[in-house]
Structures are given as C-alpha cells and as structure tokens.
C-alpha cells in the first residue's frame, strides 16, 4: 500500500517536470516595458565575471519591482550560449564578448539587437602580497611561475592570448580553466601563481588576491552586450531588466564594481 502510493508520487512529479519543460517553446511577441506592474520569474544568464555585480543589480531590480523574482545562471559565456542553443529557458543573456553574442544572434536565438552595457580591462591576478614579484606580462613566462589561463573558447582566455601576443610574451599555461572564476579560485587556493582575469574580478575577490596592472598598450578592452532571448516567457520583465542595466542607476552600480561605462 505504502509502496504503491510513493510510486505514484514519483510518477506524478516526473510527469509534472515533463509538462513544464514542454511549454517553454511558446514564444511571446516582443514587448516594450508596460506600465502594468511586472511579475513572474526572470531567468538571467550572465557571464561568470558578472557574478558579483549582477547579483547586486538583481537585488536592486527586485526591490524596484517586487513582483519579479530574478534568478541568475552564472557560467563562462560559451557555456551559457550552448545552454541557450539547447533550449535552456533563459530570458536575458549578458555576454562577456561580442563574438558569442553575434553567434547567438546569427543563429536566431535573440530578440532584437543587443545593447553594450559595460567594458572591462584585463589585469594579472596573483596571491596577496605578490610573492612571486610579478610586475608585468613578461614575468608570467619566468621559470617557477605557475601561470594558468581560461580556455580559448572563454572570452577572457581569448583576450589573454591577445594581450600576451601584443606584449610578445610566449608562455604555456599549466591549465585551461573553464571560467574566470575557476582561475581566481585556483589563485586563492594557492595552486597557481598567476592568471589573467578582468580588473573587476580582482576588485570582487577583495583581499584574497592582488592585481598587477597591464599597460594600456597591451591591454584588451572587453565589451559586454546584453540581449533578450527569443522565446522568453516574461518579455516585459526581460526588457525592463535590460533597460535597467543600461540606465543611469544600473551604470553607476556597475561602475562601483569597477566596470567601465558602456559609452
């Protein structure tokens, strides 16, 4: 008796799960922000380097729109793009580069044009106190320095390669990590001595790491575009969120995390 009952519960939960994923394909027409109070869930897929800043933006957006529940999925940009291509229910995508964004747009997964909302610069991340005495990109190739990078498919990894190339530095990383946050955590843990990440990541990690600036001549400016994903089930909230990110309020919040303004 008990067994049959629990089996039915499992089946019901399973069927309910099937049903909810089935109607994600329904598309809503593009909508502009309406005066009607916003509501429902908003699923924002954002690059790993936006973890701290977007979490804060989400909180203030929810405070301004009490009916909306913002949920974030932070990962390396290519991971997010793959997830959206495979039908993950995203309403908004904030990418750490234009290449991945353009790819998704070309494949028809975005609603309307993307908006650039921030820029970022690269910085060398090292352990607090810079024990290996790293002063610039050339020092990453020194013997005894364990340098790790992001995989070339991750925007930060691609930018790192550009920066190293422009400085004429040849260095083989010990590991190609899947995201910026993975590089930072290996520096924090002391497993690696140096990596190249965004300035904002060094700021966000606080006293757990230190940063070494990369001169403007060799630095690469990362461009962050944001877009509403086609097939969003909450278009009103999605457009409101992207507008909020590029608004004066959103921009000053991003600036407080070290991002450079969109324009």
């Amino acid at each position: 008796m008990h067994n049959r009952f629990s089996m039915l519960i499992v089946a019901a939960v399973f069927l309910a799960a099937c049903g909810s994923s089935g109607n994600a394909a329904a598309t809503s027409p593009a909508a502009t922000p309406s005066p009607v109070p916003l509501s429902g869930n908003l699923s924002v897929f954002a690059a790993a380097s936006l973890t701290a800043s977007f979490t804060a933006l989400g909180t203030s957006f929810q405070a301004a729109n009490p009916g909306v529940k913002v949920k974030f999925n932070f990962a390396g940009t290519p991971t997010l793009v793959t997830q959206i291509e495979q039908g993950a229910p995203a309403d908004v995508l904030a990418s750490a580069d234009t290449t991945n964004m353009d790819k998704l747009t070309a494949e028809g997964f975005t609603a309307g044009a993307s908006l650039v909302f921030a820029h970022n610069l690269l910085e060398i991340v090292v352990a607090p106190g810079n024990p290996k005495g790293i002063t610039g990109l050339a020092d990453l190739a020194k013997s005894g320095v364990i340098y790790i990078s992001e995989a070339p498919s991750v925007p930060a990894g691609k930018y790192s390669l550009q920066a190293l190339k422009s400085a004429g530095v040849m260095v083989t990383p010990k590991s190609l990590e899947a995201s910026v946050t993975a590089v930072i955590s290996k520096i924090e843990l002391g497993e690696a001595d140096a990596g190249i990440v965004y300035t904002t990541d060094v700021t966000a990690a606080g006293s757990k790491v230190a940063g070494v600036q990369i001169p403007a001549a060799n630095n690469v400016t990362a461009t962050y575009p944001i877009v509403v994903v086609k097939g969003t089930t909450n278009a009103a909230a999605a457009y409101a969120f992207t507008s909020y990110v590029v608004s004066a309020t959103g921009q000053s919040a991003l600036a407080s995390f070290g991002f450079l303004p969109a324009t």
Binding site: P78, I148, A151, K174, S175, L176, A178, G190, E191
Partner: protein, 256 residues
Amino acid sequence: MPIVVLVLAAIGAAFFIVPLLGLIVRSPWRDALTALTAPETLEALKLSLFASLTATAAGLVLGVPLAWLYARVEFPGRNLLRALTTLPMVLPPVVGGIALLLAFGRRGLVGSWLNTTFGFTLPFTTAGVVMAETFVAMPFLILTVEAGLRSMDRRYEEAARTLGASRWRVFTRVTLPLIGPSLFAGAVLCWARALGEFGATITFAGNFPGVTQTMPLAVYLLLETNQEASYILSLVLLLVSLVVLVGLRDRWLGSA
C-alpha cells in the same frame, strides 16, 4: 501483471534510453573518423587510457588489502572506516576534488610538505589526474572484492594453512585465485568509473591537453567549440560503459 507497474517501468526505461538515442541520432557519423583521429582527441584518449589503467592498478594494490580487512578482520570502527573509504561513490566528484586540493594541493595538509620537502606538486600534473581518478573509482573495487571475499568458501584457506602454507602464501595462492572473478569485476568497474571521471579531475588536476585533459574534459570543452566532435567522443565513452556493464552483468548484479 498490474498495468500501472508496466507503464511506469516503460517510462523509467525510456528515461534512460531516449538520451542515448539523442546522442546516436544527432552524432555526425560522416565526420566520426575525422573527429576520432584529430590530434587533440587522440591525445585525450591516450591520456585517459593511461590514467584510468594506472588508477585501476593503484586501486588493486591499495583496495584489495582494504577489502580483505573489511571481510576478514573484526575491529572497532570497521563500518565507519568502510563508509569513509567508499564515500566517493556518493560524494559529488567536485567535492572530492576540493578535498584533494585541501589535502594534496600546494598549500594542502600533505601537499605543502611534499612541496617544501621534494619541490613536488600534484595539481596540473598527470599524477594528479591518476589520484583524482583513484579517489573516485577505487570504492567500486573495494566493495566488489569485499563481497567476493565474504562469499568464498574459506575451507580451502583453512586446508592450505593446515598443510603448512604461510598466511601470505595462502593469500596469494589460494584466496586471490578463488576471488578472481570478483577481482576482475571490481577492476573493470573501477576502470570504467576512472575513465568517466570528470569533476574531481578538473577541480584537482586542471585541464591541459596532453597533461590533464582526459576524454570527459575534452567532451565538456568541445561542447562549446565543436559540438559534433563532442557528440562523437560522448558516444565513444558511452559504448565503453555499455560494453563494461553488459559484460559484467552476471557478476555484478547476479544473473537474471
């Protein structure tokens, strides 16, 4: 036969079979050979084979004595020790990777000593991959071998002892041959689990082609750059696992 049970069983079976079908249907078969013989693939395959076989060897050397201890010696805390040494079977592999970092990483409990004494660090090395795989896979071997030891007829060991064989000789010449099938099953399960290891490896050993990038890591990163190739590599891993499970069914699950 109650119809409800049949229907639920069918749903249950479909739940496992449909994802496999998806992989098979969506794989670009025409490009399979190109994807399989690409230098990066071969490198990952070679590393995976080496690391998983080494992990299995390490599992045999360290795991069989543990299994023997659990099956033959009554001591306080035996159940707790068994639970601790088989924990990675249920632990998320990433957690295993973090634990390994905190123990054997450059600043870890043992790792910092290794580093200062021998100038030797494990993360970002193939040795690190082998450790991560052994950590996750060895419990399968321990449990299989322990079951084999418990179910074997101990009178052969006693007979050998009364005939004057030393304990070590009995162990190597009587016990081990008698549990041969369990040893084999345990080793194959351990190897298959090591071959598929992802979370602990990427966390503890990192990811670099030819050094620490095993097949599952290559599949994960290829999904973002070359999806077709990642489907093909996934299929290879899937076929290996399937062959192992079908081949072992009688030993591991008991004959149907």
